[in-house]
Symmetry: C2
Subunit: 332 residues, 2 copies
């Protein structure tokens, strides 16, 4: 059973999960391409994954068989186990609990696409609806406090399978970075009685220098204090704390914004490896005036991860203004 | 001029330094080996670095010439500039200041060693004294609040030069991770009236499962909530907040602990790339009961840096107990 362990000084939780070491390493991931053996994420190979959690399917097609457009399955090498109680306990100065949680894979297309930029707007919409459906289902489980949704594209960004997919981890704890954002946004709200993210969107749209694109409902910007070259955030213009509370039209517009952003990054940076992460409010909080959900996209371009790992302090050789300019210039 | 920019939500400072993009990339770093051209860190090539800041030298040898055992020079591609005023200012919701600071390189040996593990105990002592001398000098400059001392070994850990060296960045701000440690340690102290790190050392030495080694003055442990496989911390047994306040005997014992730790890591993991970071108290604080300086060593083994970058949430496939066992078994 994996364990969740808490650093006693800074309160950071870590999953210690020895079974994960058995999964394919990025170096081996080419073996899953059709040339080298069957890809478990391709249509027709449904039997190679753990049993399907949900799928969007053509009428008449049946579970665990072809006919789907998007499919959610458990991660074959889960970082956390879905069964069991948390059993929170102490060991002297330390705190730990059982590694209970969900670890799922969203297979974004039945075809062996290796770049998410190749998917259609309709497919992006399905991906976002799938995130929402899974969050709404998982938040019924009272053991969980947060669902982390993220994508690793490219082995340098941590992907072990090349067939385009995203991941979801339901957690009995709130990740430290989310807590930091909540606390920071709360402090600003206390002082100004405004949402800091709303103020950011307003200022960026007025100044334009860091705006990549915008539509009716979303602004895409390279953030003022970007940690990484070409870091890009997608922020809803309407204030809302939860990703899963977006409207139908907002998901349509977000599909466009996300797809265009990835196409621009592919164009500016020649199909870079990247991660994106959905930042949303923890379940136990309620929709409020200060926290504002958003998506952070981080291309992984350089060996920036030297001392940055241990210090939370970043050196970025590309200004967000230059990055935004380059991204704006890409023809869609 | 580089800029220091602050994330308005979480308060994280980032250096935006476009000149850094011109430095050699890790892929090119082999060009600096003697086979492929002169290494600026080798004895005899003193003219290839910016002017020497300090050196430990044989009597009679002179500046910028052979005869040294350790040499400190400015980084040729500094992330921050030593000249100028901070000029703290706002731009709407954002805060920024000029990228003023020192960025220095500690060349640890005149010979072209590419692995720090090859150095003698005496050389480790000189390295630690050099860190101390530079901190004591830089803290006289009232613009600076923190000196970050770190080492990148191996291109995968961010090193661009193979000749073994460490780096030092003097900063007008305190890195967020240091602030987090200070706040966490203060909270524990308020509650228990004891230092959390002292309690950790006491518990680890009693339990032994995560102890790699110890001597009179230092304990080497794999931390309970290790973020990375084989993450290893070196903690002084005597409570002290500042690295630069250690005694002569403590530097001798730390040299042994650090050297042995790197030899053990080399033995267990076949000369892995790694980073280490010295964690010490910010200048403006005073020696106190709660903060406890230490060194964190982080081997860079796998593509763990997927979503971990953006969430501060880590999945570690190796337990610290297994890592400590493996490290203990290495013959020195």
């Amino acid at each position: 059973m994996p364990q969740l362990r808490k650093d006693p000084v800074v309160g950071r939780w870590v999953i210690i999960s020895t079974d994960r070491a058995k999964r394919p390493t990025p170096r081996e991931h080419k073996r899953n391409s059709p040339r080298n053996g069957p890809c478990p994420f391709c249509e027709g190979n449904e039997g190679l994954t753990p049993p399907e959690i949900m799928a969007y399917r053509a009428a008449g097609s049946s579970r665990e068989s072809p006919g789907w457009t998007l499919r959610v399955v458990p991660n074959k090498f889960p970082a956390l186990m879905i069964e069991g109680e948390l059993d929170r306990r102490g060991e002297g100065v330390y705190d730990l609990m059982n590694g209970v949680g969900a670890h799922e894979v969203v297979v974004e297309t039945p075809n062996h696409e290796t770049n998410m930029g190749a998917l259609s707007e309709k497919q992006y919409e399905e991906i976002l609806w799938a995130y929402r459906d899974r969050i709404l289902d998982l938040r019924k489980d009272k053991r969980f406090r947060y669902v982390l949704i993220f994508k690793n594209q490219g082995s340098e960004a941590g992907a072990t399978m090349e067939h385009t997919h995203s991941q979801l981890i339901a957690l009995p704890i709130v990740p430290r970075t989310v807590t930091d954002e909540l606390v920071g946004a709360q402090e600003y709200y206390k002082y100004k009685e405004r949402c800091i993210y709303c103020d950011i969107v307003r200022q960026e749209i007025e100044e334009r220098a860091r705006v990549v694109s915008e539509n009716e409902n979303f602004a895409v910007i390279c953030p003022f204090a970007s940690r990484f070259p070409f870091e890009t955030w997608i922020l809803p213009k309407r204030h809302s704390s939860y990703f899963e509370h977006a409207s139908k039209q907002e998901y349509v517009d977000l599909s466009r914004s996300l797809r265009e952003t990835l196409i621009r990054l592919n164009g500016s940076l020649n199909d870079p490896p990247f991660n994106y992460i959905v930042h949303s409010m923890p379940f136990e909080e309620t929709e409020d005036g200060h926290y504002h959900w958003h998506i952070e996209v981080m291309p992984k371009l350089t060996q920036v991860a030297g001392f940055e790992w241990g210090t939370g302090f970043y050196i970025n050789p590309v200004t967000p203004e230059e990055a935004a300019l380059s991204l704006r210039e890409i023809a869609l």
